[in-house]
Amino acid sequence: MKIGIINYSLGNVGSVLSAFNFYKTDAKLVSQPSDIDQCDLVVLAGVGNFKTAVDRLKSSGFWERLNQAVTMEGKTLLGICLGMQLFADLSFEGGSQPGFGWIKGKVIKIDDKSVRIPHMGWNKVQAFDNNIFQGMHQQYFYFMHSYHFVPEDKSVVVGTTKYGNTDIVAAVRHKNIIGVQFHPEKSQGDGLRLVRNLLEEIKC
Protein backbone atom coordinates (compact mmCIF):
# COMPACT_ATOMS: atom_id res chain seq x y z
CA MET A 1 0.00 0.00 0.00
CA LYS A 2 1.33 3.39 -0.99
CA ILE A 3 0.59 6.56 0.93
CA GLY A 4 1.08 9.99 -0.54
CA ILE A 5 1.25 13.08 1.66
CA ILE A 6 0.56 16.16 -0.42
CA ASN A 7 3.46 18.58 -0.18
CA TYR A 8 2.20 21.93 -1.35
CA SER A 9 4.60 24.07 0.69
CA LEU A 10 2.18 24.88 3.43
CA GLY A 11 2.83 23.59 6.89
CA ASN A 12 4.74 20.83 8.44
CA VAL A 13 4.12 17.65 6.51
CA GLY A 14 7.25 16.16 8.09
CA SER A 15 5.37 15.21 11.26
CA VAL A 16 2.65 13.50 9.23
CA LEU A 17 5.25 11.54 7.29
CA SER A 18 6.96 10.60 10.52
CA ALA A 19 3.69 9.29 12.01
CA PHE A 20 3.05 7.05 8.98
CA ASN A 21 6.67 5.92 8.99
CA PHE A 22 6.18 4.77 12.57
CA TYR A 23 4.18 1.86 11.12
CA LYS A 24 6.80 1.16 8.45
CA THR A 25 4.43 2.07 5.66
CA ASP A 26 5.44 3.06 2.18
CA ALA A 27 4.65 6.73 2.73
CA LYS A 28 6.23 9.63 0.98
CA LEU A 29 5.80 13.32 0.35
CA VAL A 30 4.18 13.97 -3.01
CA SER A 31 5.10 17.11 -4.92
CA GLN A 32 3.70 16.24 -8.36
CA PRO A 33 -0.03 15.82 -9.00
CA SER A 34 0.68 12.79 -11.22
CA ASP A 35 2.30 10.98 -8.27
CA ILE A 36 -1.18 10.55 -6.83
CA ASP A 37 -1.85 7.89 -9.50
CA GLN A 38 0.08 5.26 -7.56
CA CYS A 39 -1.24 6.14 -4.10
CA ASP A 40 -3.78 4.03 -2.23
CA LEU A 41 -4.18 6.66 0.45
CA VAL A 42 -3.79 10.39 0.00
CA VAL A 43 -3.18 12.65 3.00
CA LEU A 44 -4.01 16.33 2.76
CA ALA A 45 -2.62 18.22 5.76
CA GLY A 46 -1.99 21.90 6.11
CA VAL A 47 -1.98 24.82 8.43
CA GLY A 48 -2.56 28.47 7.77
CA ASN A 49 -5.03 30.39 5.75
CA PHE A 50 -7.85 28.73 3.77
CA LYS A 51 -7.46 30.96 0.72
CA THR A 52 -3.67 30.55 0.64
CA ALA A 53 -4.15 26.78 0.69
CA VAL A 54 -6.69 26.86 -2.16
CA ASP A 55 -4.44 29.14 -4.23
CA ARG A 56 -1.40 26.92 -3.73
CA LEU A 57 -3.30 23.72 -4.51
CA LYS A 58 -4.58 25.32 -7.70
CA SER A 59 -1.28 26.80 -8.85
CA SER A 60 0.53 23.50 -8.21
CA GLY A 61 -2.06 21.52 -10.17
CA PHE A 62 -3.13 19.44 -7.18
CA TRP A 63 -6.64 20.89 -7.04
CA GLU A 64 -7.93 19.23 -10.21
CA ARG A 65 -6.05 16.01 -9.60
CA LEU A 66 -7.37 15.64 -6.04
CA ASN A 67 -10.90 16.41 -7.13
CA GLN A 68 -10.71 13.69 -9.74
CA ALA A 69 -9.07 11.19 -7.37
CA VAL A 70 -11.77 11.68 -4.74
CA THR A 71 -14.91 12.09 -6.84
CA MET A 72 -14.18 9.88 -9.87
CA GLU A 73 -11.60 7.31 -8.77
CA GLY A 74 -12.87 6.80 -5.22
CA LYS A 75 -9.42 7.08 -3.68
CA THR A 76 -9.27 7.18 0.09
CA LEU A 77 -8.26 10.59 1.39
CA LEU A 78 -7.46 11.77 4.91
CA GLY A 79 -7.74 15.50 5.57
CA ILE A 80 -6.03 16.92 8.63
CA CYS A 81 -6.94 20.28 10.18
CA LEU A 82 -7.14 22.75 7.29
CA GLY A 83 -7.07 19.68 5.04
CA MET A 84 -10.45 18.69 6.47
CA GLN A 85 -11.86 22.21 6.25
CA LEU A 86 -11.08 22.16 2.52
CA PHE A 87 -13.79 19.47 2.12
CA ALA A 88 -16.41 22.19 2.68
CA ASP A 89 -18.06 24.10 -0.13
CA LEU A 90 -17.42 27.46 1.50
CA SER A 91 -15.12 29.03 4.08
CA PHE A 92 -15.52 32.44 5.66
CA GLU A 93 -11.87 32.78 6.64
CA GLY A 94 -10.78 36.14 5.28
CA GLY A 95 -13.88 36.86 3.18
CA SER A 96 -15.59 33.92 1.54
CA GLN A 97 -13.79 31.29 -0.44
CA PRO A 98 -15.05 28.08 -2.06
CA GLY A 99 -13.49 24.77 -1.04
CA PHE A 100 -13.67 21.37 -2.77
CA GLY A 101 -17.35 20.95 -1.86
CA TRP A 102 -16.98 17.21 -1.18
CA ILE A 103 -19.11 17.64 1.92
CA LYS A 104 -21.83 20.26 1.98
CA GLY A 105 -21.22 22.79 4.73
CA LYS A 106 -19.41 25.90 5.81
CA VAL A 107 -16.24 26.78 7.66
CA ILE A 108 -16.92 29.56 10.15
CA LYS A 109 -15.10 31.23 13.02
CA ILE A 110 -15.73 29.73 16.44
CA ASP A 111 -18.33 32.09 17.84
CA ASP A 112 -18.39 31.79 21.60
CA LYS A 113 -17.60 34.65 23.94
CA SER A 114 -17.11 32.28 26.86
CA VAL A 115 -13.94 30.73 25.43
CA ARG A 116 -10.57 31.84 24.11
CA ILE A 117 -9.89 31.74 20.41
CA PRO A 118 -7.83 30.03 18.95
CA HIS A 119 -8.99 26.69 20.33
CA MET A 120 -5.50 25.55 21.23
CA GLY A 121 -4.44 22.51 23.18
CA TRP A 122 -5.64 19.02 24.04
CA ASN A 123 -9.34 18.29 24.08
CA LYS A 124 -11.34 15.11 24.47
CA VAL A 125 -13.16 13.73 21.46
CA GLN A 126 -16.48 11.97 21.66
CA ALA A 127 -16.46 9.44 18.85
CA PHE A 128 -19.34 8.01 16.84
CA ASP A 129 -17.18 5.80 14.67
CA ASN A 130 -16.03 2.45 15.97
CA ASN A 131 -13.36 1.98 13.35
CA ILE A 132 -10.97 4.89 13.33
CA PHE A 133 -11.38 5.59 17.07
CA GLN A 134 -11.11 2.02 18.34
CA GLY A 135 -8.64 0.85 20.97
CA MET A 136 -7.77 4.25 22.35
CA HIS A 137 -6.91 5.41 25.83
CA GLN A 138 -8.72 8.68 26.65
CA GLN A 139 -9.27 10.15 23.17
CA TYR A 140 -7.51 13.43 23.86
CA PHE A 141 -6.18 15.08 20.74
CA TYR A 142 -4.25 18.24 19.94
CA PHE A 143 -6.26 21.05 18.35
CA MET A 144 -5.06 24.39 17.03
CA HIS A 145 -7.64 26.36 15.06
CA SER A 146 -9.92 29.40 15.10
CA TYR A 147 -12.34 28.27 12.38
CA HIS A 148 -14.41 25.12 12.39
CA PHE A 149 -16.33 23.04 9.88
CA VAL A 150 -20.12 22.89 10.16
CA PRO A 151 -21.47 20.25 7.74
CA GLU A 152 -25.13 20.45 6.70
CA ASP A 153 -25.71 16.72 6.97
CA LYS A 154 -24.85 15.77 10.57
CA SER A 155 -24.62 12.09 9.67
CA VAL A 156 -21.11 12.70 8.29
CA VAL A 157 -19.89 13.78 11.76
CA VAL A 158 -18.03 10.93 13.45
CA GLY A 159 -16.43 12.87 16.31
CA THR A 160 -17.05 16.05 18.25
CA THR A 161 -15.26 17.93 20.99
CA LYS A 162 -16.77 20.31 23.49
CA TYR A 163 -15.38 23.83 23.65
CA GLY A 164 -17.40 26.25 25.73
CA ASN A 165 -20.96 25.93 24.47
CA THR A 166 -19.95 24.65 21.06
CA ASP A 167 -19.73 21.05 19.90
CA ILE A 168 -16.87 21.39 17.48
CA VAL A 169 -16.78 18.88 14.66
CA ALA A 170 -13.59 16.91 15.32
CA ALA A 171 -13.95 14.22 12.65
CA VAL A 172 -16.02 13.62 9.54
CA ARG A 173 -16.46 10.68 7.25
CA HIS A 174 -18.23 10.58 3.90
CA LYS A 175 -17.79 7.76 1.41
CA ASN A 176 -14.04 7.56 0.71
CA ILE A 177 -12.98 10.68 2.60
CA ILE A 178 -12.13 11.06 6.27
CA GLY A 179 -11.28 14.35 7.93
CA VAL A 180 -10.01 15.27 11.37
CA GLN A 181 -9.83 18.78 12.80
CA PHE A 182 -7.15 17.79 15.32
CA HIS A 183 -3.59 16.70 14.59
CA PRO A 184 -3.20 12.92 14.99
CA GLU A 185 0.50 13.26 14.15
CA LYS A 186 0.87 15.49 17.24
CA SER A 187 -1.38 13.56 19.59
CA GLN A 188 0.98 10.98 21.08
CA GLY A 189 -0.43 7.45 21.59
CA ASP A 190 -4.05 7.98 20.57
CA GLY A 191 -2.97 9.94 17.50
CA LEU A 192 -0.75 7.09 16.35
CA ARG A 193 -3.59 4.66 17.02
CA LEU A 194 -5.83 6.62 14.68
CA VAL A 195 -3.21 6.28 11.96
CA ARG A 196 -2.97 2.55 12.62
CA ASN A 197 -6.76 2.12 12.57
CA LEU A 198 -6.95 3.87 9.26
CA LEU A 199 -4.14 1.77 7.79
CA GLU A 200 -5.82 -1.44 8.92
CA GLU A 201 -9.15 -0.38 7.52
CA ILE A 202 -7.91 0.35 4.02
CA LYS A 203 -5.55 -2.60 3.76
CA CYS A 204 -6.31 -4.09 0.37
Binding site: G14, S18, G189
Partner: protein, 253 residues
Protein backbone atom coordinates in the same frame (compact mmCIF):
# COMPACT_ATOMS: atom_id res chain seq x y z
CA UNK B 1 -13.19 20.61 27.79
CA UNK B 2 -9.79 21.95 26.94
CA UNK B 3 -7.17 20.79 29.43
CA UNK B 4 -4.40 22.83 31.04
CA UNK B 5 -1.06 22.43 29.32
CA UNK B 6 2.18 21.42 31.02
CA UNK B 7 4.92 22.73 28.75
CA UNK B 8 8.65 22.06 29.15
CA UNK B 9 10.42 25.22 28.02
CA UNK B 10 13.83 24.61 26.51
CA UNK B 11 16.45 27.33 26.29
CA UNK B 12 19.14 26.74 23.71
CA UNK B 13 22.60 28.08 23.33
CA UNK B 14 23.44 26.82 19.89
CA UNK B 15 22.70 23.11 19.93
CA UNK B 16 22.75 22.61 23.70
CA UNK B 17 20.08 22.94 26.30
CA UNK B 18 20.88 25.38 29.10
CA UNK B 19 19.22 26.58 32.27
CA UNK B 20 19.99 29.53 34.51
CA UNK B 21 18.27 32.00 36.77
CA UNK B 22 17.13 35.58 36.19
CA UNK B 23 18.23 35.16 32.55
CA UNK B 24 21.89 34.53 33.49
CA UNK B 25 24.29 31.99 35.06
CA UNK B 26 23.51 29.32 32.52
CA UNK B 27 24.62 25.72 32.92
CA UNK B 28 24.47 22.97 30.32
CA UNK B 29 21.58 20.58 30.96
CA UNK B 30 21.74 18.28 27.98
CA UNK B 31 20.61 17.55 24.48
CA UNK B 32 17.32 19.17 23.39
CA UNK B 33 16.10 16.29 21.24
CA UNK B 34 16.66 13.54 23.80
CA UNK B 35 15.05 15.71 26.49
CA UNK B 36 12.07 16.40 24.22
CA UNK B 37 11.65 12.64 23.69
CA UNK B 38 11.62 12.08 27.45
CA UNK B 39 8.91 14.68 28.12
CA UNK B 40 6.91 13.44 25.13
CA UNK B 41 6.97 9.95 26.63
CA UNK B 42 5.91 11.37 30.01
CA UNK B 43 2.89 13.07 28.42
CA UNK B 44 3.81 16.75 28.18
CA UNK B 45 1.28 18.73 26.16
CA UNK B 46 3.84 20.59 24.10
CA UNK B 47 7.49 21.65 24.03
CA UNK B 48 8.72 25.19 23.49
CA UNK B 49 12.29 25.56 22.21
CA UNK B 50 13.91 29.01 22.27
CA UNK B 51 17.42 29.91 21.19
CA UNK B 52 18.34 32.69 23.60
CA UNK B 53 21.48 33.73 21.75
CA UNK B 54 20.04 33.91 18.25
CA UNK B 55 18.92 37.54 18.23
CA UNK B 56 22.12 38.71 19.89
CA UNK B 57 24.21 37.00 17.20
CA UNK B 58 21.84 38.11 14.45
CA UNK B 59 21.02 34.56 13.35
CA UNK B 60 18.09 32.20 13.72
CA UNK B 61 17.47 29.08 15.78
CA UNK B 62 19.16 26.02 14.25
CA UNK B 63 16.19 24.48 12.41
CA UNK B 64 17.83 21.05 12.21
CA UNK B 65 17.02 20.67 15.91
CA UNK B 66 13.33 21.29 15.16
CA UNK B 67 13.38 18.70 12.37
CA UNK B 68 15.06 16.08 14.50
CA UNK B 69 12.63 16.72 17.35
CA UNK B 70 9.49 16.43 15.22
CA UNK B 71 10.74 13.21 13.67
CA UNK B 72 11.21 11.66 17.10
CA UNK B 73 8.34 13.15 19.09
CA UNK B 74 4.54 13.06 18.76
CA UNK B 75 3.72 16.34 20.40
CA UNK B 76 3.48 19.92 19.18
CA UNK B 77 6.67 21.94 19.09
CA UNK B 78 6.86 25.70 19.20
CA UNK B 79 10.18 27.21 18.18
CA UNK B 80 11.74 30.63 18.42
CA UNK B 81 14.91 32.62 18.55
CA UNK B 82 15.93 35.31 16.09
CA UNK B 83 12.83 35.09 13.87
CA UNK B 84 12.60 38.51 12.31
CA UNK B 85 10.63 38.17 9.04
CA UNK B 86 8.27 35.93 7.09
CA UNK B 87 11.11 34.04 5.45
CA UNK B 88 12.61 33.10 8.83
CA UNK B 89 9.19 31.91 9.95
CA UNK B 90 8.76 29.87 6.76
CA UNK B 91 12.10 28.18 7.51
CA UNK B 92 10.86 27.12 10.94
CA UNK B 93 7.57 25.78 9.60
CA UNK B 94 9.32 23.95 6.78
CA UNK B 95 11.61 22.40 9.37
CA UNK B 96 8.51 21.14 11.14
CA UNK B 97 7.64 23.66 13.84
CA UNK B 98 3.94 23.75 14.69
CA UNK B 99 4.12 27.27 16.04
CA UNK B 100 6.69 29.98 15.92
CA UNK B 101 7.60 32.14 18.89
CA UNK B 102 8.54 35.77 18.40
CA UNK B 103 9.89 38.14 21.02
CA UNK B 104 12.41 40.97 20.44
CA UNK B 105 11.70 41.55 16.76
CA UNK B 106 7.95 41.66 17.40
CA UNK B 107 8.33 44.17 20.24
CA UNK B 108 10.46 46.39 18.01
CA UNK B 109 8.12 45.97 15.05
CA UNK B 110 4.58 44.91 16.08
CA UNK B 111 3.48 44.91 12.42
CA UNK B 112 5.44 41.67 12.17
CA UNK B 113 2.70 40.00 14.23
CA UNK B 114 0.08 41.05 11.72
CA UNK B 115 2.13 39.90 8.73
CA UNK B 116 2.68 36.52 10.35
CA UNK B 117 -0.86 35.91 11.55
CA UNK B 118 -2.18 36.84 8.09
CA UNK B 119 0.23 34.44 6.44
CA UNK B 120 0.19 31.48 8.84
CA UNK B 121 -3.01 31.99 10.84
CA UNK B 122 -3.19 33.26 14.42
CA UNK B 123 -3.02 29.75 15.84
CA UNK B 124 0.56 29.34 14.62
CA UNK B 125 2.01 32.57 15.98
CA UNK B 126 3.02 32.89 19.62
CA UNK B 127 4.46 35.98 21.32
CA UNK B 128 6.89 35.63 24.18
CA UNK B 129 7.19 38.65 26.47
CA UNK B 130 9.81 38.99 29.22
CA UNK B 131 8.94 41.34 32.06
CA UNK B 132 10.50 42.63 35.23
CA UNK B 133 8.70 44.32 38.07
CA UNK B 134 10.11 47.77 38.76
CA UNK B 135 10.46 49.24 42.24
CA UNK B 136 7.20 51.10 41.68
CA UNK B 137 5.34 47.87 40.95
CA UNK B 138 5.14 48.52 37.23
CA UNK B 139 5.94 45.72 34.78
CA UNK B 140 8.69 46.71 32.35
CA UNK B 141 9.19 44.79 29.12
CA UNK B 142 12.69 43.58 28.23
CA UNK B 143 13.99 42.32 24.91
CA UNK B 144 17.24 40.65 23.73
CA UNK B 145 17.00 37.94 26.41
CA UNK B 146 16.25 40.33 29.22
CA UNK B 147 19.12 42.72 28.53
CA UNK B 148 17.34 45.76 27.09
CA UNK B 149 14.35 47.55 28.54
CA UNK B 150 11.89 49.06 26.09
CA UNK B 151 9.66 52.06 26.66
CA UNK B 152 6.35 50.50 25.75
CA UNK B 153 4.42 49.16 28.75
CA UNK B 154 3.28 45.57 29.14
CA UNK B 155 -0.46 46.27 28.82
CA UNK B 156 0.04 48.41 25.74
CA UNK B 157 2.26 45.78 24.08
CA UNK B 158 -0.24 43.02 24.81
CA UNK B 159 -3.06 45.13 23.41
CA UNK B 160 -1.09 45.79 20.21
CA UNK B 161 -0.26 42.11 19.76
CA UNK B 162 -3.89 41.11 20.22
CA UNK B 163 -5.08 43.74 17.75
CA UNK B 164 -2.55 42.34 15.26
CA UNK B 165 -3.87 38.80 15.59
CA UNK B 166 -1.45 37.03 17.91
CA UNK B 167 -2.61 33.48 18.73
CA UNK B 168 -1.04 32.91 22.13
CA UNK B 169 1.13 34.78 24.64
CA UNK B 170 3.85 33.42 26.93
CA UNK B 171 4.80 35.86 29.68
CA UNK B 172 8.00 35.24 31.61
CA UNK B 173 8.81 36.94 34.86
CA UNK B 174 12.55 37.67 34.82
CA UNK B 175 12.52 38.20 38.58
CA UNK B 176 11.10 34.74 39.23
CA UNK B 177 12.84 32.86 36.43
CA UNK B 178 15.04 30.03 37.69
CA UNK B 179 14.30 30.78 41.36
CA UNK B 180 11.93 27.83 41.96
CA UNK B 181 10.07 30.16 44.34
CA UNK B 182 6.69 30.24 42.62
CA UNK B 183 5.01 32.17 39.84
CA UNK B 184 4.30 35.88 40.01
CA UNK B 185 0.55 35.27 40.31
CA UNK B 186 -0.22 39.02 40.48
CA UNK B 187 1.22 39.41 37.01
CA UNK B 188 -1.05 36.77 35.47
CA UNK B 189 -4.10 37.88 37.45
CA UNK B 190 -3.57 41.34 36.07
CA UNK B 191 -3.08 40.12 32.50
CA UNK B 192 -5.78 37.46 32.34
CA UNK B 193 -8.77 39.79 31.84
CA UNK B 194 -6.87 41.58 29.05
CA UNK B 195 -5.86 38.46 27.13
CA UNK B 196 -8.59 36.66 25.17
CA UNK B 197 -6.16 34.19 23.59
CA UNK B 198 -4.31 31.41 25.44
CA UNK B 199 -1.95 32.75 28.12
CA UNK B 200 1.03 30.74 29.32
CA UNK B 201 2.81 31.52 32.60
CA UNK B 202 6.56 31.12 32.78
CA UNK B 203 9.16 31.72 35.45
CA UNK B 204 9.44 30.50 39.01
CA UNK B 205 7.74 27.12 39.14
CA UNK B 206 9.44 25.04 41.81
CA UNK B 207 6.77 22.85 43.37
CA UNK B 208 3.45 21.16 42.64
CA UNK B 209 1.57 23.76 44.66
CA UNK B 210 3.11 26.63 42.69
CA UNK B 211 1.17 25.34 39.68
CA UNK B 212 -2.02 24.67 41.63
CA UNK B 213 -1.84 28.24 42.99
CA UNK B 214 -1.32 29.72 39.59
CA UNK B 215 -4.21 27.86 37.98
CA UNK B 216 -6.54 28.68 40.87
CA UNK B 217 -5.66 32.36 40.95
CA UNK B 218 -5.22 33.27 37.31
CA UNK B 219 -6.84 30.66 35.04
CA UNK B 220 -3.79 30.59 32.75
CA UNK B 221 -4.03 28.03 29.94
CA UNK B 222 -0.70 26.45 30.62
CA UNK B 223 2.56 26.57 32.52
CA UNK B 224 6.07 26.60 31.13
CA UNK B 225 8.53 24.62 33.24
CA UNK B 226 12.29 24.87 33.13
CA UNK B 227 14.59 24.28 36.07
CA UNK B 228 12.03 22.20 37.92
CA UNK B 229 12.26 19.56 35.19
CA UNK B 230 15.89 19.96 34.13
CA UNK B 231 17.60 20.26 37.49
CA UNK B 232 15.17 18.89 40.08
CA UNK B 233 13.50 15.60 40.73
CA UNK B 234 10.13 16.23 39.11
CA UNK B 235 8.50 14.63 36.11
CA UNK B 236 5.37 15.28 34.08
CA UNK B 237 3.60 12.11 35.20
CA UNK B 238 3.78 13.00 38.89
CA UNK B 239 3.01 16.67 38.24
CA UNK B 240 -0.17 15.72 36.41
CA UNK B 241 -1.22 13.23 38.99
CA UNK B 242 -0.84 15.88 41.73
CA UNK B 243 -2.69 18.55 39.77
CA UNK B 244 -5.53 16.15 39.03
CA UNK B 245 -5.84 15.46 42.75
CA UNK B 246 -6.25 19.23 43.26
CA UNK B 247 -9.02 19.39 40.65
CA UNK B 248 -6.99 21.12 37.96
CA UNK B 249 -8.36 20.05 34.57
CA UNK B 250 -5.54 17.89 33.27
CA UNK B 251 -5.24 15.46 30.39
CA UNK B 252 -4.77 11.93 31.65
CA UNK B 253 -2.07 10.05 29.82
Amino acid sequence: MLTKRIIPLFLLKGSRLVKGSHFGDYVDVGDPVSQAMIYDAQGAEEVVILDIEATKHDRMIDTSIITEAIEKCRLPIAAGGGIKNLEDAHCCFRAGADKIVINSHAALNPDLVKEMSDEFGSQSVVASIDVNKSAGGRYDVYIFSGTKKIDIGLEKLVETYLANGIGEIIVTSIGQEGTLSGFDCDLYQKLRPLVNVPLIASGGSGSYDDMVNLFQKSDCDGVALGKMLCLRDYDIVRIKSYLKGKNVLIRET
